[in-house]
Symmetry: C2
Subunit: 340 residues, 2 copies
């Protein structure tokens, strides 16, 4: 227990090494790490969580880099969780070096952690939430979750942020189709990066047009909002009358970055005024609880098989040979009918 106490204190003091080790141990679901995270839980809830998402090549990492610099200039502590597609060969995040953020590598006030979409059971979302909580407990004022792509897990993670930023570039063409479908609703804030390229104005107009289409006025206002917002994860901002800003930036030159930070601030204030901030906190808590539940339950069920890989393989073989279907077998495992 003293080991747990010491590492908790070290994380609360903001020590990078202790935090990094805790994150690794959480990834491996070590009981002692979960004990430490439990002790840290009451110290979390102070950080503002930003989600930044966009297609590869949109310049999200550059924008993140510039936002780090901006917040550091205000004396704030910043944490970044960069979620990357990965290679099972290296086991690590290939984009993990995040070249454009390297200049902050020696800054004690910045903690950048790359997470790999490794395909672990329930891995990505759970790991992300764990890392965010550790950074929060470390005293980071802002935690930025940066994701690539429009996958289900990635959207869930971004959705759980206080403010979600979607980054696009001019001349999207078909990309617009994907954006409007998957991403439109989670955006509290659009950034049209590389706005010195031709077509930037048109992109802003297109996004504005789509926002009007996808967020009809009938859905606005608090009454409609509470009604429509019932299912988990519907972005409150989309429903409660928040006018989504569409901000041009040239992130490489730092242009427009201050305006993005201002919009984040304004969105936060708007959310707090209306009680939506707490709604998002609950939303994230729900997501965290569900992820934890999946993890804990599956882990227990596999342990009930004796933690023996051979026994699991034998069950898999029964499904593969069509002897039994997966749901029926899962029910058997759940009932403990195959327990040791």
């Amino acid at each position: 227990m003293s080991g747990v106490h010491d590492r908790v204190q070290a994380v609360l003091r903001g020590e990078v090494r202790a935090a990094a080790r805790l994150m690794r141990d959480l990834d491996d679901a070590l009981p002692s790490a979960r004990e430490a995270l439990a002790a840290l839980h009451s110290h979390t809830g102070k950080a503002t969580i930003l989600g930044i998402t966009g297609n590869p090549g949109s310049g999200k990492s550059t924008l993140t880099d510039q936002l780090i610099a901006h917040y550091r200039g205000e004396g704030k502590q910043v944490g970044v969780v960069a979620i990357d597609p990965t290679s099972p060969f290296t086991g690590g995040a290939i984009l993990g070096d995040r070249v454009r953020m390297q200049r902050h590598a020696t800054d004690e006030g910045v903690f950048i952690r790359s997470l790999a979409t490794r395909g672990n059971l329930g891995g990505l979302s759970r790991s992300t939430m764990d890392v965010v909580r550790v950074m929060d407990a470390m005293g980071k004022d802002l935690v930025i979750i940066e994701t690539v792509g429009v996958g289900q897990d990635e959207i869930e993670v971004t959705r759980a942020a206080h403010t979600s930023i979607v980054v696009v570039v001019p001349g999207l063409g078909d990309d617009i189709q994907a954006i409007k479908a998957g991403i439109m609703e989670i955006a509290d804030l659009f950034v049209v990066n590389k706005a010195d390229r031709p077509g930037a104005d048109r992109s802003v107009q297109e996004i504005r047009h789509m926002l009007d289409l996808f967020r009809p006025s009938t859905l606005r206002g608090p009454a409609a909002s509470t009604e429509v917002a019932a299912p988990r994860g519907v972005a409150q901002s989309a429903l409660g009358g928040w006018e989504v800003p569409i901000l041009p930036t040239v992130a490489l030159q730092g242009e427009g970055v201050a305006a993005v930070a201002e919009a984040v601030e304004a969105h936060g204030a708007w959310m707090r005024e209306r009680g939506y901030w707490e709604a998002r906190v609950r939303e994230r808590a729900r997501f965290e609880l569900m992820e934890a539940l999946q993890d804990v339950l599956v882990r227990r069920a596999l342990q009930s098989l004796g933690g023996d890989r051979g026994r699991l393989d034998a069950l898999v073989a029964r499904v593969a040979t069509r002897e039994i279907d997966p749901y029926t077998l899962a029910e058997e495992v759940a009932r403990g009918g195959l327990g040791s």
Copy 2:
């Protein structure tokens, strides 16, 4: 039980309506639907499952459409699962109409089903696997899973196919970065679509170069393969000496599509010869079992709370107010300590 028997027979006869209703009921996790799927399980395992993935705008849907036409020309039955980013407002798949595939809408030998990344608990992968199994039981010779993006779930789903096709377009620029990281390993087959555009040859060379980088010779050969392939989901093709073809197509004109179908055939034959086909079948069975296990366990745990949304909300509130951390609470729920 007779209801279940009747619908099982209808699905086995390939009746579209019965199959569509079963898919909907499976999505809602109705017990009678799972019973039907269990009865169908022994009739599955005959279809060849193709995964097709690529960024928005790569022309995957057009390629899928052309492949459907090709296989129909050979008298084969085809099923398609199109996984789309969605809007929580409409609740459905926005790209779901899949305009380019509409010409097959009246063809009885083609069954196209759109699935939405709705953010349901454990929804996407599980639904996809369910739909694939129903199509397999219906007697579809080929089932094509088409996904957008590079999300974790999407990669998992594609990985579970017999043959995975990654579609790219010339002039990728930064996209290449994302592709090499997340997608490179799952590709059994690359398609450079829109190959009449400038830069197609260069794209082929770049992909070849990346394949050489990412699939070092030390990983090739059966000995290395069994060793490295131990973790679930590592594409066998990447390890066992399969020379990944990089095929140029102009899908809109149907150019190169026959060559893609040939390569799929060749890959299947290669897999069967080396026993890798069975390895992928086991891989998919493992994935299906894990998805089913998550679903069954979480469902049971939530039912143990009395299926009462208010009680779940109260638990969420305890996490949100930092009274208790998610893992500790999840353990309590798992132990049934909060059961009714």
